[in-house]
Amino acid sequence: MERVLYGKKTAYMMSPGYSATTPKSEFLKLIDLMEYFFVSRPASGRREGFEYQRVMYFNPETENSSKQTDVSGVAEAFIAFTENFRKRAEVVAEYDHRFVKSTKLLEIFVQVENSEYIIGLGLNRQACNEHDYFVHMSSLKALLIRTYETFRLFYGTFSDLFETGKGILMQRLDQFFSHYLSLLRVHQIPLIDLFSGVGFMNMPPVDYLDVQCLISRCSESFPMIKKTLFLYQDKMVEYSVSKNDIIVVYRYLTQHLVQSAVQSELKPVASATYRETETKKFIGKFITGVTEDFIGQEESVDHQFPNVFLSDDNGKMISHALIAYRALNATFCLFVKNEDMPSLDLQELQQSLDSELSRLASNIGDNVSSITRTITSSDIPFHYVYYNPDSLSLKTSFVDSPSDLSNVPLPPPAIYKQVCETFDHFIDTDTEKFAQVCCKADDDWWVVVKKVNGRVLTLFIPSTPTSNITDIHDIVEQIIKSYFLNLFIV
């Protein structure tokens, strides 16, 4: 993570990949593959001779203005052209996309905010080949959308910023993307980028109920708390943040906030930010608003907590204060609208939260160690990716904490391409709710994808040259019985 200066404050920039301890070979930096990235506002470039004004942000900034205008102009042309094939009454998705393939580039254009803005990303084919990276367009679209939503989390919508001033929008875009893009990473297995998911904590029902009780009591005593999120370590326990926002909020919390909190906790006691008076009274502490580590806009005049924009029921982005309280390994995040902040008594909050949260965290901690992860000690070596689009649960063996380092070898890069093509051709359809594919491919690895009621389980099984479908059927049945038995139950 790097320190970047924003105005007078220093802030840590989030690293938008996974934890720093995952093997490097599983990720690639987007900047190594990227040809260009831009944000444009077509309405600003309608006047002849002034088309360049539509470009709100372009990376690399060294690209000359006419090329920037051309690239963004061609994007508009593609969008307008393909619009002709839509029936007038056809409902358009929230993030409408165009994928354009050419001999040298792979380009993605996504329209956001009622099609008023276009975000464009171009990847260089040669660079991708050199890095053995298979470009799966839908996965990159998901990544691009998350990138936009991350910006929106900290700064609000493009339209709102534009209203305060075009220069302000351009400045914020530059402030955010110039740095963010240099850190953005893609996963070698595109499916993991495609499935925007959240890692859920496996928890005994009693502990889960305890958490829910804590949340309800807190919300009752402090009615200005509108949304909450409960994490244990880096796993999700419970949330009431809107589904539109949860992915980026979760990533920000786990990859930046919790990480930096853990790091400061591991520092020796004589750290400068440690407040002596609080240690005797309370076990936990606030991890936002009391230290200098925050991101986004300069601190609000009303309070010292960072601002994040969350969507309300109508899709409008409302600024909230992010209050995060951490005790032992549990992090409890509360979102309060800015206007309600003055009525919140922080000391009262801490008083009411601390002991209960610490007790809960301690209980969960005891149980976590007894939930042994058996998958990595399995006799049958395999890798998996599981995704449930309803709960947004995403589990995978490709990104695990180091203590679960599996000795199963990674599949060859051709397999990543195979799984994406299999997925696109046979699984990712609206017409079939149930489908199963077993495919024996390169180096005799088997890729098995099972879709039941929208939930998708993908298995990667290294195998022998002589194995056939009956052999693999037995292996798959065994794996599902041992580790995934309840995943398909509705």
Partner: protein, 426 residues
Amino acid sequence: MSAVDEDNEEDQRELLAALPYQIWILSEYGKPIFSSCGREDEMSSFFALIQVLVKRYETWENGLKSIQTSGLHIEISFRAPLILCIVSRHPFNLVLQLDIVFNQILSMLSRKSLKDVYEKKGDHFDLRRWLDGVDKRVNACVKGFNEDPVVFSSGFRILPLNCSDREFIVNLMATSINEANLNNVAFAILVAHRQLIAIVRMKKCNLTASDFNIVVNLIETHNSLRDGERFVPICLPNFNQNGYLHAYISYLWEGAGPCLLLLSTSPQAFYDLSKIRIDIEDKMLQYKRYAQLKNSLTQPDPFFIKQMACNELWHFMYKNVQLSQICCSSPEKPYITVEELEYIFRGYFKFSDMARRVNNRVKMFFYQLETFSLFSWITESFELHCIFSPFVTKKTAWMTAENMLKILRKYEKKVFFTLQPGLLNG
């Protein structure tokens, strides 16, 4: 915009949105040449935009290949001086389809003519003048894309026939042509239902599967006119992309039988070739198995699945990789009608598209959905694709496949063309 213009735009939009699949052909100067909906002049603004986009990418030393959004795939192929375009609801096999359509255009014009035409006649030349009947040819291609399970597998589909009958036909064709002292017949082909019955050729000539596809589509365009004889020039791009052969097309037994094609290098060969056909028909009458042969060719002996002894097997496709030949089972319940067959063929097409995208590195494949299961087994020597009932177990599928291989190998002489075709003089 006036009310009339708005109405027109609305019509156009409805037309574009309604058609699930379209092919567009234009010149690299933006002039419309062909459109599936038949109204290419009305689409000139779209054609112009495609041309601008293709040329813009060219200035960036880049080649535009495809544009995609949800539910829409536009594949573009720039083969100077033509730009070909497919607009489709699904993304499978589009590049191959463009290749097939382009080859079809070449078969009408030849590479050389195509290259020279705009240089000699100018950018504004209307190529449609030289492409009379192109709509029938392209429609024949499209029909193949949906109804012919073999079309994307780069192989010849062979009509199953008794071994000795096939040998008789091959020898008959060869002797008829050689005895008439004709040195200019490159190929003599007998075709029925898009399947090859027999072929003889000059020793040094070879017919690729892709050229055979052109021949088959040519026959399709003359399908409705089975009586009489035709003599048309044709260019086979893989054989000789700059020259023409002259195809004598006629159906045996007054239109009731298979189609006989004699491809000659001479444009004056019509009468000679006509006599060959009469000779062939006459000599067939003297064949001891004439009745059975006629029956086999007019009502082909279907390759029944029942022989494979598995109730859950509904359809299969077997390819001998070395011979590049494919045989398919005949339709059986529950997939009999054209629409029903198109539905399961889509399984084959999706598979072949996927396999191609991963550089054909798939060895075994099993796909189970609610309406059928597809099992594919690919090795260096053969490809076997089977459609089973959705309830089939993998064990049954595997055992059936192994069993099928044994049976198919036994019948290879019947279902494949294993004779030596290089018998013609010249």
